[in-house]
């Protein structure tokens, strides 16, 4: 019993040098009793005469002790057998941690050395599992030793002095035999310091005398690293370490306290001692004789690294008896200890002038940076302390801190991640996957499979972890004497960021079984992901058909509060508008019956996922569950609001551990404070993937959120992230911050862009060409009158505001007026419409402002004049059959005016002469302008626009589709008074284009974008009148309606027009069925329009895409396109990243441009 207990008296004697009892080094050094051997060890170190070669003797010891080793083992074993191995009080242990099997008890006893406190701690943090003391103790067991060291390290020890920490327990016994690998402590360097005396007297200290460095009232520093967070122990330690005591004392060899180290030295020495990283020995270089209080004493401090320092400080939290609380708060004590450790090490290395043998970058700059970071943190802490509310989680609470990135910085960031090797290996997708992958997609698949299987890339050398530095142990001491060389250990490694030390080569690990697929939009991320879903899946065991278990009912999970694994299921989280697209692509990419896909949304949510996805239900478990961010959030909130916070009982997304989770458009969680982001972090899955075209939208913290979701250690710790990335970045050390981010990104991200070229020069994705045509629209006179009126009104009102200096104040009003002006380009009646959906800001003010315009009688008159043309008329079919016959025959003639063949929108005069509608109208317009009576171009009969009749050709397709029964009743041609469908110049232009399209490319689909749903409302009847078939998609539709519309558009055979609001349809959708795009109105920045166009012109598009942008000539629209959009091309930062205030200022500038 006694040899397993820590020996407080012994410690006191050695390290506080206060014990009067003589050191037992006098005893036989080869005494085979554990404590004594340990003591001898220490004694050797403490021997003042052995200062130059501290472990030479120890090496001797080892060789001497070689024979007794076996004896010790035998002794220990015998002891164990004797007292049934339980050296501590099992009842007490069990009262703390709960009942345990005798096996575990035995093991705990073994590894804790009978120390009950240690046993409890080890059991609670789970580290006992890593330790296997009963295994043979020969070489190759480094890891188990390491973990023992670390347990020593975190054991609560009453005395804090470095050397004391290895207690003479059985485990230490074993390590002692390993001294040939790493001595207990190893010299790394020395430096000078000027201490000051605290006592007076003579013969206290003389030159060359050994000085003992120590901390008398050591802090009770807890390494909380390995402990469960939020335990009482930690709280105590937090309180304890609040006391800031950095006093380091030194005493002479007789144990008399002589003085203290100066503040700046003490600062780091205290930490190194407290955290048991180093031990120090000092020699007095000069001390005044006699010594008086406060006089300077010159010391040389020798620093030794402690062996235990090099034990891995794993952050891993082992699984047992540690429930994953959903809502734990952050603790900062750990972070603070880390920071102290890190700075102290850096300062120490600076003092002893130890520089890394290999370090990635300019290590000096790096060190300075680190110290700077630490200082900043300290200052911050002080500030917080001063203000009295030092909330430990303050960092987390600051909303959206972090500076925004400039465009060139972003480019730089991506550069590394984008250096894509075109010869990287490819993988073939599984057979159940039906689509043909392009080469780069196969490469992506290969990469993803590797990430999931956690294989290292073949042929890639193990590279040093970028945050680590390599140091060489000094071979000579401060007096230039040779130091003993430890075999195979010329180097050690330091992570100056975390303060971690290691003897082993720190390999850059990739422990995240997923990653970020950041291919640019349109490269087929969804397809790549689906190929992965097919190619890496768990196959349920083959069941012998139908007979063996006729009722293969899913068993309910046994325990209801354990998270149920769902080994066959991939969860896809996507924005709502993409749910059905995911489902249909999943279906299209799979052989029938090979991929069971469900959409988990709305009313379909009633299923119990625990039962559905469990391994027991293997054959019916869904392979893919598609859900929206909203659902994730609402389930998360639901669980959070229940008292227990238990995820398992909910039966929802959080009650199972998926095989894989995929976040589509993952920039949705870019703000880590957002509830959605927090909810997503909590989704449990073996493999975690994010898909996004923009992993960093505008600040580095955006990336953090993704990393956090992926659970990439250690970056998913925000404090860590902050230290290495945010703080350097904020202190303008961009290069370093970006460099680190690059290294984080590199193994995680696969990103290809559309404009990448393959080695042979061909683009990655050969997309068919895209042509953008700007169509200039001439407003009719009536429209122009309305436009001019509104324009003058707005201009006057803006000028008044500028004069009054109230532009910012009346911003919304001005903005709404501009909106009206833009609308008047589309259709005059829009000016008075109240149901505008364009922009939140705009809509809100639109109504208030509309009054100003609508009450205006002049405007009213103008609009009435316009609308009066609309009302009369309708279809006129009082022509004789022979006329229609004649029309039919002449239909293919060319227009006598413009020579077009055939005549476009054939129109007949009252005298039966035919020409293009446009030509006829311009003849009339021209004559009117000259004050002449318009006459027929052919017979010179007077004509007027009210008596023009358009020939409407009926779509035979339409007759077959909807009205097949009445087919004989539908004439092939009919005439309609032209005035009846006079709507607006823009709508006319659209109709003309659509009709031409129908004629030239029957069956071609097209998409019409407008930002005004009220304008879409007006386009609808115009299309209906022309018997042009259309469907509509806007933001007011439910998810179900949307998917109905999209499916109809996709499935429809023949020509179809999709009317879609720019807002609702600008992102995400895949509309490659269409080949023509009509942009009815320009947006402030072309990027928004371009995004909408990319819905059609994207991967999967097989034909040339022609885009028509309708711009009214001589209007604000023209200026928007030519001035504002042009200008914005050069501003890398889009409006998205400005503050609301800046945005407004920017818009005001825009408006000035518009009205100039």
């Amino acid at each position: 019993m006694e040899d397993t207990n820590p020996h407080p008296p012994k410690r006191r004697r050695f390290f506080a040098a206060s014990s009067p009892s003589p050191p037992p080094e006098a005893s036989d050094p080869i005494l085979p009793s554990t404590p004594q051997r340990e003591l001898h060890d220490y004694a050797a170190n403490d021997d003042p005469n052995s200062d130059t070669t501290p472990f030479a003797e120890r090496d001797e010891d080892i060789t001497i002790e070689e024979p007794p080793e076996d004896e010790i083992d035998r002794d220990v074993e015998a002891a164990e057998i004797k007292d049934l191995s339980l050296r501590f009080d099992a009842t007490m242990l069990e009262s703390v941690v709960g009942e345990l099997s005798s096996d575990i008890l035995k093991r705990l006893d073994d590894i804790s050395g009978g120390n009950i406190e240690r046993a409890i701690n080890m059991y609670l943090d789970g580290s006992w599992k890593d330790v296997r003391p009963s295994e043979p103790k020969k070489s190759g067991k480094q890891s188990s030793f390491d973990s023992m060291f670390s347990q020593n390290g975190k054991r609560k020890s009453p005395a804090g002095i470095g050397q004391s920490s290895i207690a003479p327990t059985p485990s230490d016994e074993e390590t002692a035999q390993r001294l040939d690998r790493m001595p207990y402590e190893r010299y790394i360097g020395s430096f000078g310091a000027e201490g000051y005396a605290v006592r007076s007297g003579s013969n206290l200290l003389s030159h060359g005398e050994e000085v003992i460095i120590g901390r008398q009232q050591p802090q009770q520093v807890q390494k909380t690293v390995r402990r469960g967070k939020g335990r009482p122990v930690t709280v105590v330690s937090q309180a304890a370490s609040k006391r800031k005591d950095i006093v380091v004392r030194f005493s002479n060899s007789r144990g008399e306290e002589i003085g203290r180290l100066p503040h700046e030295t003490a600062q780091f020495v205290s930490t190194l001692l407290d955290q048991k990283i180093c031990s120090f020995k000092a020699v007095c270089v000069y001390a005044p004789e006699p010594l008086r209080s406060n006089e300077t004493i010159f010391l040389q401090l020798k620093c030794y690294m402690l062996r235990q320092t090099f034990a891995p400080r794993a952050l891993r939290l082992t699984e047992t008896n540690r429930s994953t609380g959903l809502f734990e708060t952050k603790e900062t004590e750990e972070e603070k200890a880390l920071r102290l450790r890190q700075t102290s090490l850096v300062k120490l290395f600076n003092e002893i002038r130890l520089f890394p043998t290999t370090a990635g970058q300019d290590s000096k700059a790096k060190r300075e940076g680190l110290l700077q970071v630490a200082e900043m943190a300290e200052e911050k802490e002080k500030e917080e302390a001063a203000s009295g509310n030092s909330t430990p989680i303050k960092d987390e609470d600051e909303p959206q801190e972090g500076k925004e990135l400039e465009q060139d910085q972003l480019d730089q960031l991506y550069k590394k991640a984008q250096t894509f090797d075109f010869n990287s290996p490819e993988a073939e997708p599984a057979e159940t996957f039906t689509m043909n992958l392009r080469r780069y997609q196969k490469q992506a698949l290969h990469w993803m499979l590797n990430k999931e299987r956690d294989k290292k890339n073949e042929g890639q050398e193990e590279s040093m972890h970028p945050l680590w530095e390599e140091y060489t142990w000094p071979v000579k001491d401060e007096n230039d004497k040779e130091l003993p060389i430890v075999e195979n250990q010329e180097k050690f490694y330091v992570n100056p960021y975390s303060g971690d030390l290691s003897l082993k080569f720190p390999v850059q690990e990739q422990n995240c079984l997923g990653g970020i697929l950041a291919d640019e939009m349109g490269l087929g991320k969804t397809i790549e992901m689906l190929s992965l879903i097919h190619s890496n899946r768990n196959e349920p065991e083959a069941v012998s058909g139908t007979d063996s278990k006729p009722f293969n009912l899913p068993r309910l999970p046994k325990s209801s509060d354990v998270i149920e694994p769902a080994p066959y299921t991939t969860l896809v989280v996507a924005p709502m508008s993409l749910l059905s697209q995911w489902a249909s692509e999943a279906e299209a990419a799979s052989k029938p019956g090979t991929l069971k896909t469900i959409i988990y949304y709305g009313s379909d949510k009633s299923l119990d996922l625990r039962a559905q996805c469990s391994a027991a239900n293997a054959h019916n478990a869904p392979n893919v569950i598609i859900t929206s961010y909203g659902v994730v959030l609402s389930e998360f909130t639901q669980i959070a609001n229940t008292a227990s916070g238990s995820r398992a009982n909910s039966g929802g997304l959080f009650s199972v551990q998926f095989f894989r989770v995929i976040l589509d458009e993952a920039h949705n969680i870019k703000n880590r404070q957002s509830k959605t982001a927090k909810a997503c972090y909590e989704l449990d899955a073996l493999h975690r993937w994010v898909l996004t075209g923009t992993p960093i939208v505008n600040r580095l913290e955006d990336l953090f959120s993704l990393i956090r979701f992926l659970r990439v250690e250690p970056w998913s710790n925000f404090a860590y992230w902050r230290t290495f990335i945010t703080v350097p970045f904020e202190s303008k050390d961009f290069l370093r911050a970006l460099d680190v981010v690059q290294t984080v990104l590199e193994p995680l991200v696969m990103r290809r862009t559309k404009d990448m070229k393959q080695p042979d020069g061909t683009p990655l994705v050969p997309l068919p060409p895209k042509t953008i045509v700007i169509e200039e629209i001439e407003l009719s006179k009536a429209e122009r009158a309305v436009y001019d009126f509104v324009y003058n009104f707005v201009k006057r009102s803006f000028a008044e505001n500028v004069e009054a200096g109230s532009v910012m104040k009346s911003y919304t009003t001005i903005f709404a007026q501009i909106l009206r002006l833009r609308q008047s380009c589309c259709h005059p009646t829009l000016v008075r419409k109240k149901d505008v959906v364009a922009d939140e800001v705009e809509a809100e003010a639109a109504e208030a402002e509309a009054r100003g315009l609508t009450d205006n009688m002049d405007l009213q008159a103008l609009i009435d004049k316009f609308t009066s043309q609309e009302n009369d008329g309708g279809e006129v079919n009082n022509y004789g059959a022979h006329v229609l016959q004649q029309i039919k025959e002449e239909a293919e003639n060319e227009c006598p005016i413009c020579a077009n063949e055939p005549i476009e929108e054939m129109t007949v005069t009252a005298c039966y002469h035919m020409a293009c509608k446009k030509c006829l109208l311009s003849v009339i317009e021209y004559a009117k302008a000259k004050g002449d009576q318009p006459r027929c171009f052919n017979c010179r009969e007077p004509i007027n626009e009210k008596e023009l009749y358009e020939v409407v050709k009926h779509d035979p397709e339409e007759a077959i589709g909807g009205l097949s029964g009445f087919r004989e009743n539908v004439p092939e041609f009919s005439l309609r008074r032209i005035a009846a469908n006079k709507s607006s110049a823009k709508i006319d232009a659209l109709i003309t284009n659509l009709k031409r399209l129908r004629r030239e490319h029957p069956g071609m689909k097209s998409v019409v974008f407008s930002q005004f749903t009220s304008f879409i409302n007006l386009i609808e009847p115009a299309l209906a009148r022309e018997r042009i078939q259309f469907v509509r998609f806007d933001g007011a539709m439910s998810q179900q309606q949307r998917s109905v519309v999209l499916n109809k558009f996709k499935a429809h055979n023949g020509g179809l027009v999709l009317l879609i609001s720019l807002k609702a349809g600008g992102v995400g959708l895949n509309l490659t069925e269409a080949k023509r795009v009509f942009m009815m109105d320009p947006w402030w920045s072309f990027a928004v329009e371009a995004q909408a166009i990319d819905r059609i012109h994207r991967m999967g598009q097989t034909d040339e895409v022609i885009v028509h942008r309708f711009i009214v000539k001589g209007s604000v629209e023209e200026r928007m396109v030519h001035k504002i959009q042009e200008r914005k091309k050069f501003i890398a930062s889009s409006l998205g990243m400005m503050s609301a205030e800046e945005k407004r200022a920017q818009r005001i500038e825009d408006i000035k441009d518009l009205l100039s």
Binding site: P896, I897, A899, S922, R935, N938, R940
Partner: protein, 149 residues
């Protein structure tokens, strides 16, 4: 400014199916500008003569008529000394359905049927009315002098 489809078509047709006795060739550097030559109609004082004209299609064509003028001196009551032509279809009676071809045919017809009642060159019209054979002789003479290649 791109050339309208109609002008292209008309030009092509003038080349492909020329009207007998009429020639119209566009300038290389200005496709709206044509060199025109018209043969004097048979049984008219202008028989045997080849008259040069210039023709220009204005921006508004075919909403406005082409501008056309004789370059060769001609003795005709409806054509003045500057070569300007008095013809209704070139003015009020223009219709966008008319073409270069039809206009040139009208001019050729005008040569065959002078109309001294709607004169442009008043002195010529006066003589035509008072001494028609003399006027025709002068016209023939002028044709010999100015319009014979």
């Amino acid at each position: 400014m791109a050339l309208p489809k109609r002008i292209i078509k008309e030009t092509e047709r003038l080349v492909a199916e020329p009207v007998p006795g009429i020639q119209a060739i566009p300038h290389d550097d200005n496709l709206r500008y044509f060199d025109v030559s018209i043969h004097g109609p048979a049984q008219s004082p202008y028989e045997g003569g080849v008259f040069k004209l210039e023709l220009f299609l204005p921006e508004d064509y075919p909403m406005t008529p082409p501008k056309i003028r004789f370059l060769t001196k001609i003795y005709h009551p409806n054509i003045d000394r500057l070569g300007r032509i008095c013809l209704d279809v070139l003015k009020a009676n223009w219709s966008p359905a008319l073409q270069i071809r039809t206009i040139l045919l009208s001019i050729q017809a005008l040569l065959g049927a002078p109309n001294p009642d709607d004169p442009l060159a008043n002195d010529v019209a006066q003589r035509w009315k008072e001494d028609e054979p003399g006027a025709i002789a002068t016209a023939r003479e002028w044709t010999q002098t100015h319009a014979t290649p």
